[in-house]
Symmetry: C2
Subunit: 209 residues, 2 copies
């Protein structure tokens, strides 16, 4: 396991970026208490900024957990735009539904329970596709979703450095999935792809019209 | 001095992202030979992606060196859009001018020699402001340029972690400049700001309309 970013730097960044939104803090606390993996606040803020720049009409999330990243997307999109949360665990989606309703985000979100690869394909002209499902499924996910992306879509994948295990060679199927996913998308000339070594690695692939 | 990103991760990222552009490689080699500081390829690719998302009409660079970052901006902008290079060393600007001409980028660039704070103020409605001058000047630069930004401008500053020295307390004027700059821009409610711990720290501040 490799430390991707020095912890003193992370601390400095968090101090610079206070967040007073009680719903965010509730989710961050819950993630900590339950040891539930979420993209953290630094990644959340980065997703927010990228989404503001992109101005998507439709964001589809594959693997929403209890809605932390979706909450950042919902904050960043305009009214009449939509974020779709897909998650296999019903209790997570019910939590997200309640929290979004409290925040007034219900109208800009759709909540789906089930298999992300199946449900994801129901959507077309996706402007931002966010991938955060089981890592061994990443290659299948991108292949399945390519026809459903808008011509200038942005694909964002969490854990694209997988705790640094992409540079080791353990042969486990999760690391292998992430590595093959990275190689697949970087090899495509119709995407401009880069990985930001923020937290566990955020891959951004922008489809070139 | 703190290692912001593990070197094995940087190597992995570079291998995934080959660049066959001979001008880029020439500049990267020259930077290495002369020990001239440039944003590296990973940052260059990140700037490219952000610029594609932002679609700026006018990019102004304060502190262009011999044009490496400007080259990435020039690649990313549309025709009829412009990147302004400002640099105090004439030989650097002459190098950039020749290289841009060879690449066919001359029409989308303006080359200025002199004080970045003075020359920068000649431009209005700046969509992307890139700051990479002497670090102690960062606070003055942002204050001087605020009135010249477009309503949804993106400010990008290189070296916003200054080799990790922002978390130490050496009292040198360069670290102090970066720290004060970060605090200033993060404290403003009209900007949404975040720092990406890529190479030496890239600050992104998006002006909220």
């Amino acid at each position: 396991m490799i430390t991707i970013t020095d912890s003193r730097i992370e601390e400095y960044l968090l101090k610079l970026q206070p967040e007073y939104d009680p719903h965010l803090r509730e989710m961050e606390k819950m993630a900590q208490d339950r040891q539930f993996p979420i993209v953290d606040r630094l990644v959340g803020r980065f997703l927010y900024l990228v989404t503001r720049l992109k101005q998507p009409r439709l964001v589809v999330e594959m693997g929403s957990g209890f809605g932390y990243s979706a909450y950042w997307f919902a904050r960043a999109i305009s009214i009449n735009c939509k974020v779709v949360l897909i998650e296999y665990a019903e209790e997570n989606i019910e939590y997200a539904r309640r929290l979004f309703a409290e925040k007034g985000f219900a109208a800009r979100a759709e909540f789906r329970v089930g298999n992300a690869l199946e449900i994801g394909r129901e959507y077309r002209d996706i402007d931002i596709l966010f991938i955060d499902i089981d890592k061994f499924q990443y290659p299948d996910a991108i292949e399945a979703m390519l026809p459903n992306l808008s011509p200038d879509a942005l694909v964002i994948a969490d854990n694209s450095l997988w705790h640094g295990r992409v540079v080791e060679n353990n042969g486990d199927k999760e690391s292998d999935g992430v590595r093959r996913f990275n190689e697949f998308i970087f090899s495509r000339n119709d995407f401009f792809t880069t990985i930001i070594p923020l937290r566990d690695g955020i891959l951004l692939a922008y489809r070139l019209k």
